[in-house]
């Protein structure tokens, strides 16, 4: 339990993804079965026991110490579980500290009445606040240490030197404490079987194309082109009576999209883009956001934001795995399959015929009327490519539309995190607008924290420190006047209306494209430029 507690403690204070990977990988390597398996299940959210409510613990602690002293402590620390972990009185003659597997076993098997006494007993036996804190987190089943299930599985893959996709594909066939998985990862046994109907299949990803290099080497006849849709990548499964919808990382979002699950009447697995589709026309990403991350969906929401899938690949047809077929063959199967379902919820992502790269470039710059107008760009897929998990080099490319650009003025800067904690690295920038009296002033239109080199970061950081007007905690406001200030050329992927932003617009994926040390802020763009762009996007 001590090693697990230290792992949680460090994860909760570590910002860097790589450092988190190292922490989990080393823990899995150095901890014996079955403890490491239970830990992995805790990190991926796959532990199943009825979570204990933290409130009983408050009563338990008040039986052990003066309630007034407890109250002052709680008031100071602010978090109940942490306060209890810190103040829990030592008990002379405590038992041996429990191992993680004993704790998990107890939580899984004890009756609701017994579980509280069990937890109190463990708290008595634990020597360190860190361990008590870990126990109190574990019992609620929500660790909240800033680690995704995907990253935890990736750490297991690194520990065994296998591809993360292999573990993703196996995952739904495995059960904690995963002794068969670790035996395979340590080379002590065969890979466990992944035959498990309804499972997630790891997706194939595309590389960004390098226009200057790649087109010279690629033959347009080898590639199919499709529009790149601006939704989220999903996998729709109907297999052995299991109907599921997964995100590209394997998260099961079936419950949020009941309207899609019934769309396949044949067995099969489709790869496609989840979109809100009204009368056959794709709605904006903002509409799709209304359907994402919801626990419950009601009839009104389903009617207002009808979900659909634009299918672009088929990974299984009936019980046959089609991933080893060529893209050309899969495409034929896909077209026939989608046609047979005859569902208004599933449409085919059309291929875009072309002869030369120049012709395709022309199409990308001015897409034809209809949905392609709000596509993110184009996808290129080799006709002879197999469906390979991960991001193989060469078979698939994405060729994004050029970003929109605007010149905006740096207004506020905030300290970064982790490696960047000594730098002002998060920037809020604004464009010009006029008040009722016709006076120009800057209004914030977005925030960006990447797109610049380390060297540029140092220069901007110096500019911020040298030209601070006011400080508010970690934020500084910076001189931004028509003849003095710093202009950024900001690149972004799209615009949405926003009630939360004073300017009324919100950018998608903004980043610093270029630093315009040469440009006087007075010559930066007007807010009205963005407003006109937004109108153009909406009147497609």
């Amino acid at each position: 339990m001590r090693a697990f507690a230290e792992l949680l403690d460090r994860l909760s204070l570590t910002a860097s993804r790589n450092a988190k990977l190292t922490l989990v990988r080393d823990y899995l390597r150095d901890t014996p079965d079955p403890d490491r398996g239970w830990a992995l299940a805790a990190l991926t959210g796959d532990l199943t026991f009825s979570a204990a409510k933290p409130n009983f613990i408050r009563k338990a602690v008040e039986e052990r110490m003066d309630p007034q002293l407890f109250w002052w402590s709680y008031d100071y620390v602010g978090d109940l579980a942490e306060t209890v972990a810190l103040v829990w009185p030592r008990r002379p003659g405590a038992n041996r500290e429990p191992e993680l597997n004993e704790v998990v076993d107890g939580l899984r098997t004890a009756s609701r009445a017994d579980v509280q006494r069990l937890i109190e007993g463990w708290l008595d036996d634990m020597d360190e606040p860190r361990e008590r804190w870990a126990l109190l987190k574990l019992m609620t089943r929500e660790l909240r240490v800033g680690l995704t299930a995907r990253l935890a599985k990736r750490a297991a893959a690194e520990m065994g030197g296998v591809e993360p996709a292999e573990i993703e594909e196996l995952w739904h066939a495995l059960h904690p404490p995963y002794e068969d998985l670790f035996a395979w990862l340590e080379g002590r046994s065969e890979k466990p079987s992944s035959e498990n109907p309804g499972r997630f299949r790891p997706v194939m990803l595309a590389q960004a194309i390098d226009e200057a290099v790649d087109f010279g080497k690629l033959d347009p006849a080898d590639y199919a082109a499709e529009w790149k849709w601006d939704g989220i990548r999903v996998q729709l499964v109907n297999e052995g009576g299991e109907r599921r919808l997964y995100t590209r990382t394997g998260d099961d979002i079936s419950r949020t999209f009941p309207d899609l699950l019934d769309a396949l009447f044949e067995e099969g697995v489709l790869d496609g883009e989840l979109l809100v589709v009204r009368d056959g026309q794709v709605a904006s990403f903002a509409d799709l956001q209304q359907r994402l991350n919801r626990k419950a969906v009601d009839a009104k929401l389903l009617a207002q934001y009808p979900a659909g899938i634009r299918a672009y690949d088929i990974l299984a047809e009936g019980r046959e795995d089609t991933r080893t077929l060529s893209f050309a063959e899969r495409r034929q199967r896909l077209e026939a399959f989608v046609g047979r379902q005859a569902s208004p919820r599933i449409s085919l992502s059309p291929t875009q015929p072309f002869e030369t790269w120049a012709e395709l470039a022309e199409l990308r710059a001015s897409p034809p009327a209809g949905d392609p107008q709000i596509a993110e760009g184009l996808m290129l897929k080799r006709w002879d490519s197999r469906y390979e998990a991960g991001r193989p080099k060469g078979p698939w490319f994405k060729w994004k539309r050029d970003p929109y650009l605007v010149d905006a003025v740096l207004m506020y800067a905030q300290r970064g995190h982790g490696k960047r904690s000594s730098f002002y690295s998060d920037y809020t920038f604004g464009t010009w607008t006029e008040d009722e009296g016709g006076k120009r002033f800057l209004t914030p239109v977005g925030k960006a924290y990447f797109g610049f080199t380390d060297e540029e970061l140092k220069q901007i950081d110096k500019f911020v420190r040298d030209n601070t007007v006011e400080r508010f905690g970690p934020v500084r406001s910076v001189r931004a006047e028509p003849h003095f200030g710093l202009v950024f050329e900001v690149a972004f992927e799209g615009l949405q209306r926003s009630g939360r932003h004073k300017s009324g617009v919100a950018m998608r994926f903004p980043r610093i494209n270029r630093i315009r040390w040469d440009k006087p802020p007075g010559e930066a763009d007007e807010l009205s430029t963005l407003e006109r762009l937004l109108e153009r996007m909406e009147s497609r």
């Binding site: 230290e6 460090r10 909760s12 204070l13 570590t14 910002a15 860097s16 450092a19 190292t22 922490l23 080393d26 110490m65 003066d66 007034q68 002293l69 407890f70 002052w72 402590s73 100071y76 620390v77 602010g78 978090d79 942490e82 306060t83 810190l86 103040v87 030592r90 360190e128 606040p129 300290r415 995190h417 982790g418 490696k419 904690s421 000594s422």
Partner: protein
């Protein structure tokens, strides 16, 4: 009848001893002062006559220059010094090098001013000695039951595990310049870390002073002595303020550690962006405060600074009358 407040009473300048005409750890310049230890909120410059341990006087000289007071008198631990009608004895407090409790006796009344203290072993100074007394005047920096410092060796072991786990990064440990920095270095040496330890320039003079007083810190090198990548796998000690300063950029992807009792509370670590909190304190934690009161069993407990209400309540519940003095001017957070 003699009352304790006839011997010592709180004034804006600090605790005043009328029959001996001196202050203990005054926060403003006074004619006569007794100084318990060298932290800057207790030891200030500009007094007339100062009585303190030899080590504390050395520390003050190092910090403020030799003319930090008009005159200075050194007392060894246990040596009885008279101030008018009053006897003053300095007794080890276990806080930092030279730190002392001030034992004040007058007409059969004994009062002990703890200064800042701790009860656990510190390789850089002699341990706290409990003195039976009528009134014990305690600090309460960590006077809440949430503060339970773990064994310092385990914290150092966590630091060394992290160094082994992240060989491509450097470990930057924030530690106060007087006491904490030298204790951390000593603990690292005891744990078998023999490599040079790299130190921020602000620590140089006090490190040298500790070494002069016989505390072996092993090989120390300036934190400017290498190029960035060569600091991978190394431990660097710096004042806490340097952790987020531009100074920290000279190291490769540093793991920010901070050796302080405040690191017990996760929100504190998070606010400061500390990745590896090390709960190492030079102050008594809750258990040390309460066992000390239990052991001394004074007729009365006075509390100088910190979270006095909780400690006062604990004392009352355990049959020791307690009184919070609410002295101002002592850093609540600065010196741990």
């Amino acid at each position: 009848m003699i009352r304790p407040q006839d011997l010592l009473c709180p004034k804006p300048e600090g605790l005043y001893c009328a029959p001996g005409d001196f202050y203990i750890d005054p926060v403003r310049p006074v004619a006569r002062a007794v100084i318990t230890h060298g932290h800057s909120d207790h030891a200030r410059a500009g007094h007339g006559a100062v009585l303190a341990t030899h080590e504390t006087l050395d520390i003050m000289g190092e910090r403020y220059g030799l003319g930090f007071s008009e005159s200075a008198q050194a007392a060894a631990y246990g040596e009885v010094v008279r101030r008018d009608e009053v006897e003053v004895v300095l007794v080890p407090a276990g806080h930092v090098l030279g730190s002392a409790q001030a034992v004040v006796r007058w007409r059969g009344l004994t009062m002990v001013v703890s200064g800042d203290y701790k009860r656990r072993r510190d390789p850089t100074c002699p341990p706290f000695e409990p003195v039976p007394c009528d009134v014990f005047i305690s600090e309460a920096t960590f006077g809440l039951p949430v503060f339970r410092h773990p064994p310092d060796r385990e914290e150092i072991a966590r630091l060394l595990r992290s160094v082994a786990q992240f060989p491509e990064r450097s470990h930057l440990v924030g530690a106060y310049a007087l006491g904490k920095a030298q204790r951390v270095i000593r603990l690292l040496r005891e744990a078998g870390w023999e490599r040079p330890i790299y130190v921020h320039g602000a620590l140089d003079r006090l490190n040298a002073l500790y070494q002069k007083h016989g505390v072996d810190l092993g090989p120390l090198e300036p934190a400017t002595s290498k190029t960035k990548q060569d600091f991978a796998g190394e431990i660097i000690i710096a004042p806490p303020s340097a952790l987020q300063d531009r100074w920290s950029r000279r190291f490769p992807d540093p793991v920010g550690a901070f050796a302080s009792g405040w690191m017990q509370v996760r929100a504190r670590a998070r606010q400061r962006g500390v990745e590896l909190p090390l709960v190492i304190s030079d102050h008594a934690d809750w258990d040390e405060l309460t066992t000390t009161i239990d052991e001394i069993r004074p007729g009365e407990l006075w509390i100088t600074h910190g979270r006095e209400e909780a400690l006062a309540r604990w004392a009352e519940l355990h049959g020791v009358p307690a009184r919070a003095l609410a002295l101002v001017g002592y850093a609540e957070e600065g010196d741990d």
